[in-house]
């Protein structure tokens, strides 16, 4: 464990330097399984899936974005026991969530730790000049729950094909960005009959609601890709 840093009050970023093997090959959007060892009252190791948030070119490392689950076996270990310098075990990569090979315009929708695959994908796209028009909608309740705002805003300034739209559903006064549930923001901002592909990562409820909005916009199931928290 090379580095652990707090992104919000209940989300941490882990940066893991690979020891054996020393590199990993994966497609941005895939996930790994992280092992939480036996600890405290938990007699057995458990594995939990987390999307890789680092770009594949940084192949000597794996970054993860992990949100604390109240009473969660693995996230309690991450938040209360894991230290920089500890050795950890992970397996992978796994999963089919990834960008298609078309050049179609994209809409990304995420909340909370659903940021992870998109943080990998956008940095990969930048590095490899994959200039597909992309609007990334990221929802949160409070401003304190947002993270990577500066980094994503900087990318949006630098990359003409990338637009970042954070939105708050709570009542923070000091916020000049979009307001409302992220699905409502998408409904306002995405045009009807949009010729887009949509990529979603987050809770089943958010994804189901987002799919409904996208269907109403004329986006078919063959152009909607998602990674549900499950």
């Amino acid at each position: 464990m090379e580095c652990i840093r707090d992104l919000t009050g209940d989300i941490k970023e882990l940066r893991i330097a690979l020891l054996d093997p020393q590199t990993i090959e994966f497609v941005p959007g895939q996930y790994i399984q992280l092992e939480a060892p036996a600890y405290g009252d938990n007699p057995e190791p458990v594995f939990r899936a987390y999307s890789v948030s680092s770009p594949p070119d940084d192949n000597g490392h794996v970054e993860l974005i992990i949100r604390l689950v109240p009473g969660g076996i693995c996230t309690t270990w991450v938040f209360e026991h894991l230290k920089e310098g500890d050795e950890v075990r992970l397996t992978g990569p796994y999963g089919q969530f990834r960008l298609s090979e078309t050049q179609r315009e994209m809409v990304w929708i995420a909340g909370g730790s659903g940021m992870a695959p998109f943080w990998s994908i956008v940095r990969h796209m930048k590095r490899h000049n994959i200039a597909r028009k992309t609007t990334y909608f990221f929802g949160s309740v409070r401003k304190a729950d947002l993270f990577f705002l500066d980094e994503l805003s900087a990318l949006a300034k630098e990359l003409p094909w990338f637009e970042f739209v954070p939105a708050l559903s709570g009542n923070d006064g000091d916020w000049s960005g979009e307001r409302g549930l992220i699905t409502d923001v998408v409904a306002r901002r995405v045009s009807d009959s949009a010729d887009v592909e949509a990529y979603l990562c987050g809770s089943p409820g958010m994804i189901d609601a987002a799919i409904k909005v996208l269907h109403d916009k004329g986006v078919g199931d063959d152009r909607i890709f998602y990674d549900k928290f499950a």
């Binding site: 969660g72 987050g202 809770s203 409820g205």
Partner: protein
């Protein structure tokens, strides 16, 4: 009271570290049957039924989940917030599928009293009449439930 083999298996799955960090029993060392019987009586004494509780908590759960973490007024001065979480958790009885992790925090703005429950909590009441052990994070104390749901009546 001697535990039946079935109850023993279920209580083993309810122990800390098996399905979740804290398990389902809190500090409650009563046998499962005793917990169920006592809560059935307490629910009746509070003037409620398992079915009514399931219906009301289910409605609050749906309202809260639709807001992805933003608080929602559910009537009677009660607010509910659904805090989502990755992953799913099975029922300790087994054989009922898996349930989304994440929890609803239902609070009375006037008194500050709060209960916390999950999609699995609703299933446990519905299928098993189980309100979790005393001291468990997701313990649904029947008297407190009755108090909050009566306030919820006043929409």
């Amino acid at each position: 009271m001697k535990l039946s083999p079935q109850d023993r298996r279920i209580m083993e799955r309810m122990a800390p570290g098996v399905l979740c960090r804290d398990g389902f029993l809190g500090g409650d060392d009563r046998p499962l049957g005793e917990i169920l019987d006592a809560d059935r009586a307490a629910v009746e004494a509070a003037g409620l039924t398992h079915e009514e509780i399931v219906r009301r908590l289910g409605e609050i759960l749906r309202l809260a989940m639709a807001r992805y973490g933003a608080p929602v007024e559910v009537g009677g001065g009660l607010t509910a917030v659904y805090v989502e979480a990755m992953g799913r958790i099975p029922c300790p009885w087994g054989g009922h599928g898996v349930f989304a992790k994440g929890e609803v925090r239902l609070a009375d703005r006037l008194t500050g009293r709060q209960i916390v429950f999950t999609p699995l909590s609703v299933h446990l009441v519905d299928e098993h009449g189980f309100y979790q052990g005393k001291g468990s994070r997701y313990r649904l104390e029947p008297r407190l439930l009755a108090e909050l749901l009566r306030r919820n009546d006043k929409k």
